[in-house]
């Protein structure tokens, strides 16, 4: 109880409250503009959070992400353009509802279900995370090595259509993580005599380069021929939300629970949660033929799932220090720079901080309702901001943000290099998620491997002589085999598909 009170005193301060509000407004703005994602919002927010205490920093990121996902539904319903990938699955549904004159109901359902899903996710997180942490406290470096490796491997499998390209992305991320002084032997790796690389490559320019600069490179050329955006007027938002919610209450709850579970899997983020939840909702529906034609049943379930998955991603992040998605990877990076290493010990050593994080989650999700209402009312104004103004401002913000972490111009070069690489990767279907997870998890994998190898005096069988380590090792080997087999299969299928389509083309 004293932990809870202490947590409450940490959360209910003017500073934290103002940060939650400001970050939510920032997330609202970023999510509502098509092409600016929740991850990009987080990457742009990190330079500012570097100067905050751990709790306000996490509060800012959690609030901005949750709000960005919700705001991403607005351009989807109004313009048929999903604001974030997490909204893509039900964009057609929401737009069809809008054409039937129910755009207010569609957006009202989005906001309310996101809030409910988010709260369900937090409740599951707060209930299960400490219990898993109690179990995980017995883990040694052997289990952590396999767990981190498994986290990386799963991220590859679920990150895109091509696991082979996901694997290459992850390996490139691991190389980035290895630059600088080796933590065990103190030797310099891949620094090539450059003093700026001695301390390694800072996470911040990598994040900004990968998620902001690469997107700017992709989107800025389109600003020269902008399509006119004319959003419709939203009448009576939230009308009929209560009765529709009651009708599909099972779908909302199922979406929340499913989203949390999917979010907790490494690499599976809000977009995958909403896709799966929508598919499950359709499967269990009594009227599956209505899906895609302006029917709210799939929309409520998927809206609930994508926000619940944000909370779910914090289960592996807080308990094991293994990020569940790119946003939690960023949070782990932020915490590490502040001297806090997420893991089971955090639940005993810093219980008030953990409880305060849970409280922040609840507050950020409750705030979705009033701010979401405000966003729907002001949608016309947000969507009418020209990207020709926005993108140059974001570029300048990125440059100063990359410089801010270490006050080093060299970090701006890193940002530019990684941004160009991120653009090339995105153009060629290389997912960037595994790369950022690898930058965070690379040192964890390596340090635990070296710790175990030193402990066992070079005996590799020590990695599998404990039952949990053995199970994790089998799972990791199985996942890696799948990555290679799927990569080879994808290569075999491509020419066959090409041959099959050629006669039709002719």
């Amino acid at each position: 109880m004293s932990d809870l009170l202490q947590a409450a005193t940490m959360v209910f301060t003017w500073e934290v409250m103002l940060i939650i509000l400001a970050a939510s407004l920032f997330g609202l703005f970023m999510g509502a503009i098509p092409g600016l994602t929740a991850t990009m919002a987080t990457a742009l927010l990190v330079p500012v959070t570097f100067f905050m205490e751990p709790l306000p920093a996490i509060a800012a990121i959690v609030s901005a992400t949750a709000m960005a996902i919700v705001a991403g539904d607005i351009p989807g319903a109004l313009l048929r353009i999903p604001g974030t990938p997490a909204s893509a699955v039900y964009t057609e549904e929401a737009y069809a509802m809008g054409k039937q004159g129910k755009v207010g109901l569609a957006l009202g359902l989005n906001v309310t279900c996101s809030m409910i899903g988010g709260v369900i996710g937090v409740l599951i997180l707060a209930f299960f995370a400490p219990r898993i942490a109690e179990f995980a406290i017995q883990f040694t470096s052997d289990e952590y090595f396999w767990l981190a490796l498994l986290g990386l491997s799963c991220a590859i499998l679920v990150s895109g259509r091509d696991p082979l390209k996901g694997g290459i992305s992850m390996l490139a991320g691991l190389v980035i993580a290895m630059v600088g002084m080796d933590s065990v032997s103190g030797q310099m790796r891949f620094t090539f005599g450059n003093y700026d690389l001695l301390a390694g490559i800072s996470i911040l320019p990598v994040l900004i380069g990968l998620f902001a600069i690469s997107e700017l490179i992709r989107r800025m050329p389109e600003t020269r021929n902008p399509a006119p955006i004319v959003p419709p007027v939203i009448k009576r938002p939230f009308e009929g939300v209560g009765s529709t919610l009651w009708k599909y209450k099972g779908g909302v709850l199922r979406g929340g629970a499913l989203g949390t579970v999917i979010g907790s899997l490494p690499g599976a983020g809000a977009d995958i949660a909403s896709w799966i939840s929508y598919a499950v909702s359709r499967k269990f529906s009594r009227t599956p033929e209505k899906f895609g034609k302006g029917h709210p049943e799939g929309l409520v379930s998927a809206s609930s799932a994508n926000n619940a998955s944000l909370s779910g991603a914090y289960i592996p992040a807080l308990v094991f220090g293994i990020p569940g998605d790119t946003v939690t990877a960023i949070i782990i990076g932020v915490l590490m720079t502040k001297g806090i290493t997420p893991g089971p010990d955090v639940f005993t050593d810093q219980a008030p901080l953990v409880n305060a994080i849970f409280m922040v989650f609840v507050l950020a999700n409750l705030l979705l309702l009033p701010l979401g209402f405000m966003a729907i009312r002001g949608a016309r104004h947000i969507l009418s901001i020209p990207t020709g103004i926005l993108f140059p401002l974001i570029l300048m913000f990125c440059i100063v943000g990359a410089f801010a972490a270490n006050n080093a111009m060299f970090d701006i070069w890193i940002m530019l290099g990684i941004g160009l690489m991120g653009f090339f990767m995105a153009e060629n279907d290389f997912p960037v998620g595994p790369m950022i997870l690898a930058v965070i998890l690379g040192p964890i994998v390596e340090s635990n491997f070296m710790r175990s190898i030193l402990k066992s005096n070079g005996d590799l069988t020590a990695f599998v002589d404990r039952p949990i380590a053995m199970v994790l090792a089998i799972a990791a080997v199985a996942v890696w085999s799948m990555i290679i087999v799927n990569g080879v299969k994808a290569g075999r299928k491509a020419p066959q598909a090409e041959e099959a389509t050629q006669p039709q083309d002719a």
Partner: protein, 156 residues
């Protein structure tokens, strides 16, 4: 800009080989077969393996070597990319000499003029306000050492 898997496969494998080559000089820990070079060597080997699989895939399919698949013309893209890169490089080299406020104002004005309505006055106005906001947030609030440069002599 889509590149054939043959090209990306070769680049990946070459990168893996370079990683292994750069790890050759790293010494093992005393009385151990493992050390600072172990992980980079494994990663390099996997990059070569994955690159080889990608290369084989590229040889099987009949895609062109390079393809431009964007709705905007290639020349527009190249000009925009050049503008972004030039802005970043100009910031790096000019800020220590001229100072943040001048560099930020000039770069933003040029970018806003180019990418928005091609009118100097609104572009300059927005650039001035944005530079002021970034200066206040990062320079004053977060204490990031943004240099005043030329303005230092004017103000002090």
């Amino acid at each position: 800009m889509r590149t054939n898997d043959k090209v990306t496969g070769v680049v990946t494998a070459a990168f893996g080989a370079a990683v292994i080559y750069a790890s050759l000089d790293l010494k093992n820990l005393p009385r151990q077969e493992y050390g600072a070079g172990t992980f980079p060597t494994v990663i390099g080997a996997l990059l070569i393996l994955f690159g080889a699989i990608l290369l084989v895939r590229g040889l099987r399919n009949r895609e062109v070597w390079f393809a431009w698949q964007h709705p905007v013309p290639l020349i527009t893209f190249i000009m925009t990319l050049a503008a972004i890169c030039a802005s970043i490089v100009a910031y790096i080299y000019l800020t220590p000499i001229v100072g943040f406020p001048v560099v930020s104002f000039v770069l933003l004005t040029l970018l806003l003029y180019t990418f928005h309505h091609r009118r100097w006055l609104p572009a300059g106005g927005i650039a001035l306000v944005a530079t002021g906001v970034i200066w206040e947030v990062f320079g004053q609030l977060l204490h990031v050492p943004l240099e005043l440069g030329l303005l230092e002599k004017v103000i002090y």
